[in-house]
Symmetry: D5
Amino acid sequence: MSTPASKNLETFPNPRTGRDYTIRIRIPEFTCLCPKTGQPDFAELLLEYVPDQVCVELKSLKLYIWNYRSEGHFHEAVTNRIMDDLVGLLQPKFARLTAEFKVRGGIYTTVVSEHRQPGWENPTPVSLP
Amino acid sequence: MSTPASKNLETFPNPRTGRDYTIRIRIPEFTCLCPKTGQPDFAELLLEYVPDQVCVELKSLKLYIWNYRSEGHFHEAVTNRIMDDLVGLLQPKFARLTAEFKVRGGIYTTVVSEHRQPGWENPTPVSLP
Amino acid sequence: MSTPASKNLETFPNPRTGRDYTIRIRIPEFTCLCPKTGQPDFAELLLEYVPDQVCVELKSLKLYIWNYRSEGHFHEAVTNRIMDDLVGLLQPKFARLTAEFKVRGGIYTTVVSEHRQPGWENPTPVSLP
Amino acid sequence: MSTPASKNLETFPNPRTGRDYTIRIRIPEFTCLCPKTGQPDFAELLLEYVPDQVCVELKSLKLYIWNYRSEGHFHEAVTNRIMDDLVGLLQPKFARLTAEFKVRGGIYTTVVSEHRQPGWENPTPVSLP
Amino acid sequence: MSTPASKNLETFPNPRTGRDYTIRIRIPEFTCLCPKTGQPDFAELLLEYVPDQVCVELKSLKLYIWNYRSEGHFHEAVTNRIMDDLVGLLQPKFARLTAEFKVRGGIYTTVVSEHRQPGWENPTPVSLP
Amino acid sequence: MSTPASKNLETFPNPRTGRDYTIRIRIPEFTCLCPKTGQPDFAELLLEYVPDQVCVELKSLKLYIWNYRSEGHFHEAVTNRIMDDLVGLLQPKFARLTAEFKVRGGIYTTVVSEHRQPGWENPTPVSLP
Amino acid sequence: MSTPASKNLETFPNPRTGRDYTIRIRIPEFTCLCPKTGQPDFAELLLEYVPDQVCVELKSLKLYIWNYRSEGHFHEAVTNRIMDDLVGLLQPKFARLTAEFKVRGGIYTTVVSEHRQPGWENPTPVSLP
Amino acid sequence: MSTPASKNLETFPNPRTGRDYTIRIRIPEFTCLCPKTGQPDFAELLLEYVPDQVCVELKSLKLYIWNYRSEGHFHEAVTNRIMDDLVGLLQPKFARLTAEFKVRGGIYTTVVSEHRQPGWENPTPVSLP
Amino acid sequence: MSTPASKNLETFPNPRTGRDYTIRIRIPEFTCLCPKTGQPDFAELLLEYVPDQVCVELKSLKLYIWNYRSEGHFHEAVTNRIMDDLVGLLQPKFARLTAEFKVRGGIYTTVVSEHRQPGWENPTPVSLP
Amino acid sequence: MSTPASKNLETFPNPRTGRDYTIRIRIPEFTCLCPKTGQPDFAELLLEYVPDQVCVELKSLKLYIWNYRSEGHFHEAVTNRIMDDLVGLLQPKFARLTAEFKVRGGIYTTVVSEHRQPGWENPTPVSLP
């Protein structure tokens, strides 16, 4: 099963490169197919990243996500694959992808995948009271 | 009381072995019996783990859970027993099982059990603002 | 005011002594009396502990809690007293008792008390994404 | 504008001095006046502290809070002032006061102030799973 | 597109300079325009900061925010720009700005930007149970 | 089992007799005993009534409710009994008492009892959009 | 498949026969089996009734419900069957049974069944503002 | 105790007199004093009305409400009094005032008062599915 | 665009024909395409009906719903079309279909369609307090 | 102040004219200006209608709503004006517009306006249990 979708992902230059900041993108309408049964699967995706030189363009991300609609993928594999596509494109300082799949067989599955740029240090978080 | 259930648990190869990631499985429909009174007990289970070489197959997990339906188990013991079965099967880098039992006698009990692979280090978590 | 209640607390052997795990017990129906005015006070208790050799038996805990129904106690004192009774009985690796009292005079009071076994180290918590 | 209110605050001896524990007091009915316009302001206060030798008596705290009803105070100043009054009285090991003001001009303001006794160390918190 | 808005931001002296404390300001009614399409965008802003010598005056902040109503800005850029304006004005010990944009194309975007005064140390946070 | 409590209920003259209006009183802290087992029962009461000549005085109602604390009553009976006491005292145009008992044996029970003054007509309710 | 369970249902005399009132019983822990696949089904039941001469005894109701645990039943049929058993036993003025089944195949099913005693009139409900 | 407040209430002409429509005004910041004890009381008011010739001006309503801040009033009386002031001023086709008082003595009280213009008929409400 | 899907819908005989009762089916995972743009649309469907001679079989309903996945339909049209298919198949005494579409262009649309068997009378609903 | 906005509203033919059904459109992003102060106002609109010959086209509705962004309008007047525009365009069997304005001066205002086609009868609603 080939997915030319990732070539469609576009970027734009990070408008504030001198500062580490967070971009959080929630996508409640992800759907693909079960590779075993062909039945539809649904999930809510949450992408969080600290951009380096580029940010992902939202409209192209929406189109990229739509491409999974008619493809068969296992939960654990598809989450890591989207992660790999985004990391390859954005080369972010840090990225985390959470895929919260809808119930199947009375069971709710969530997969969370992270990537960290080698050498990047998470600044000590400031915890305000 | 013998439980041949654990033999039914099946695995599949971890599709992304080079990366530590989380699989979170919520099972709201666990039920067993009270070993003293024979009365039904109900719980919601939450399994979270970082896979190593294999992942648990969801359908076999569902069947494994169903096997407890007609068995008698104490809260603290059954939570640790399921944990031991899963750890023996998956040899995960890390696993946590939370069993939230429904009210009995006006009291709500939750049991949480964890396992860590010897030598595995939890990567410093990245806390994005 | 004497409270023979604590003698009624019973234990059973920890079924999984080789592993540090958490038992969390929520008791929404605690009531005692105000020692000044004799008026009823209500609270929700939350007991969390890491057992060592024994666990508290739930039915005896329920009866123990009922014994406070006709006794007069101040908020701060009764929370610490129940804590002392449980610690004396269970000798747990760690215990925390949270007593969330219902509103009096437009003010909501919560008291939280902890106990740690000398020498016991809280294992570095694993924070999964 | 003079506030003799703080003299009314009363204490009682900490009933469990050998243990660091938390007292949390929520006060949803705080009101004062805007010093510029004379218009009423409303806030919900949350006081959290670790007592040392004394605890604050709740009824006197209620009366102390009522005294602000006809006084003019800025958000940032009044939060710190109540904090200073409580710290002067209780000499607590630690205290935190959160004042969550109701919306004004479409904007919601919260002020959080903390005090720590010199030399007091926050015990490493135990984070149970 | 020029924005003279930032000159309107006003300050007042921090009323309690000897203590690090938090001011949290939630602004649910931010709106600007999409620079590509001219369509309105909406967001909820959350500003959190530890003041140094001055605090931001709320009424001027409200007016400053209103000035964005007829301007075109991208999500990532406008969040960092407001941050830069506030940091330039307040020179705070620490500041964090969270902009939670409303859904566009089925996608929800949030941008979080932080600033820390060189040399300022976040005091070890006290985590009360 | 005798209950002299109802004599303590006090009334005051209805301050606006020319108009049918509703008084709604929520009492989250009702407790009595199970007449079979002696175990405590807990409920939240909701009294709603349209007063005729008198209203119930709130402090006396609070004391009346406290009197049930050490008495044994079945759910269905005690709800109707409190209703009868209030109706006898207030002779209201209409009254409804809802008693929402806390879970017992995994079962939640609510009892709702109504009384209508003979000849009183419920004015056609105005349902605003 | 025979169900002797209904013989276990017990009643007690209605303690307040002169008044139409409501008894509402929520049972979150119903489980039976799918007659086709043998897989467990779960539901939350809500029984609401206006008693005539007798009320259902709660402990016997709990035991009656447990009897379905190892029986196979379709959603629509089992709801009406429980209804028929209760109506046969209680001969209530009115009864309604709502069975809210847990998700199967991404679909949530609820079945609601009612019974009205011939000749019984629902008193015009009083709708208080 | 005299209240000249009602004279301050102002009106403006109903901008759409040919149509019955609803105006709903929620006022979460009402406070007055208990006439017995002098202690502050707090309530959330909800005014709903169908205007006839005039509407109430919001700023004057805010000022009118502030005037109760230093006055003593019983719950049932003050709700009806505000109602009478508004009815006298607005002569609305219909009005309803709900006053939800904050907890006192563990008891929550709400008072609801309605007024209907003689001869005005509530149009049959359209209940859309 | 042809949809052979409706032929796949299957029925089973109503197991309790002598009684009017409600079957409520919630389907959170409906998706089709926008006929103008080809972009995916998502909706949550709620089907409620009173069966006559037959009920809809759930598995066939699930498959029927899946068939819309690759078809283009407008909101208002597709809701009425599914309604027409179900009414043609089930000939129910009453049916209602609610389709709650996910946000598009900042706007949330819901369409509700009903069908009533000629001559069927909705029994006067019993409104229990 | 002239508003040519209403000419932009477009319609399409009702796809199911033989049946009364409901279209519900929620618009959380309405904003206009206060005609007195020029300050922005925000509201969430809810339009519900039963179409006759035409339905409102969603994209044109979105653009129509945007036109209010730079116009000054009072709450009561703007709600009725949008209603009049929609009624003039759609000639619906029934329409209701609810405008829930955001807080101003601590006061939350909602305006609800309805229109009914002369001679149209709301079918008796079916209230399923």
